[in-house]
């Protein structure tokens, strides 16, 4: 599994799709994105295991701001961070995309 992380609107999907040379249809069939929004659905390890069935898993970095005042938002953000760590552990390759530029954090370039 390839795990892709990076800031909001950084071009994560387009960049990894381009690296893998996939059409949009092919990509949609083997990728899960915005998984940070699913972080409260289950325990991070369980969710990460389930998501690892995909060839590509993409999560947006959401932990770079001030701690949210709203308790649910706080839990969501915390869970998103734990999920990203669990995904990165399972991934063969981890790529961070910033401004549409990919950077290898773990493994080898696909």
């Amino acid at each position: 599994m390839i795990f892709v992380t990076g800031p909001l609107f950084a071009g994560k999907r387009e960049t990894i799709r381009g690296l893998l040379g996939l059409t949009e249809e092919e990509f949609a069939a083997c990728a899960a994105w915005d998984v940070q929004e699913r972080a409260l659905e289950a325990e991070p390890e369980i969710l990460a295991e389930e998501l690892s069935a995909n060839r590509v898993v993409i999560a947006t970095e959401v932990g770079g701001g001030v701690v949210p005042i709203d308790p649910v938002e706080r839990r969501r953000r915390e869970a998103a961070g734990r999920l990203a760590c669990a995904l990165a552990r399972r991934a063969d390759t981890v790529i961070r995309v910033c401004c549409g530029l990919p950077e290898l954090l773990k493994g080898e370039w696909p």
Binding site: P7, L8, F9, A10, G11, T60, E61, V62, G63, G64, G65, V66, P68, E73, R77, C98, C99, G100, L101, E103
Partner: protein, 173 residues
């Protein structure tokens, strides 16, 4: 040489970018985008302008319509910063919208031997924003991606340290 410098608040972007341009041939131009709204702004701007004059920069102010700015040919220009310029174009009384910015950058690239643009990493704090903030972020991110694709070098500043996302490392910064 076209360099894009990105980083979070107080990550050392300005210091890095100024040092970079100081190492480039003159004339050195600082393109200031911050509009003075009151006396406090003006005092702050005047102080920064003096500091830069000591470093060999001429300051040109440009809040909107970058493509009409009069820029000396062949120099090294530092544009600081892109998010300020975007806010002026989107929300200022004389703003021409986000689409005014890329032609302005083209104009700078035509005139200057070296261009350095400073922009902000403000995209890692979630997407739960009031009002027009998300729209602003989307427009800024699109500009960042476009400029990153065009740039020879893209450098992220982390705790004042150069983290190269594209191009060569810089030996002395």
């Amino acid at each position: 040489m076209f360099t894009l410098v990105i980083g979070g608040s107080a990550s050392g972007k300005s210091r890095y970018a100024e040092a970079l341009v100081q190492a480039q041939p003159g004339p050195r131009i600082y393109l200031a985008t911050m509009q003075p709204f009151d006396a406090e702004c003006e005092a702050r701007i005047a102080r920064h302008r003096e500091q830069r004059a000591d470093k060999g920069f001429e300051t040109i102010e440009c809040y909107v319509n970058l493509n009409e700015a009069e820029i000396p040919r062949g120099g090294s220009l530092l544009l600081e910063d892109l998010s300020n310029l975007l806010a002026n174009e989107l929300y200022g009384p004389e703003g021409g919208g986000a689409e005014a910015i890329l032609p302005g950058i083209e104009h700078l690239l035509e005139r200057c031997a070296n261009l350095t643009v400073v922009t902000n990493e403000v995209f890692s704090g979630g997407s739960d924003y009031e009002g027009d903030t998300l729209h602003f972020l989307r427009e800024l991110a699109a500009l960042n991606r476009e400029l990153a694709a065009r740039a020879d070098r893209v450098v992220e500043l982390v705790c004042g340290l150069e983290h190269v996302l594209k191009g060569e490392r810089h030996e002395n910064l």
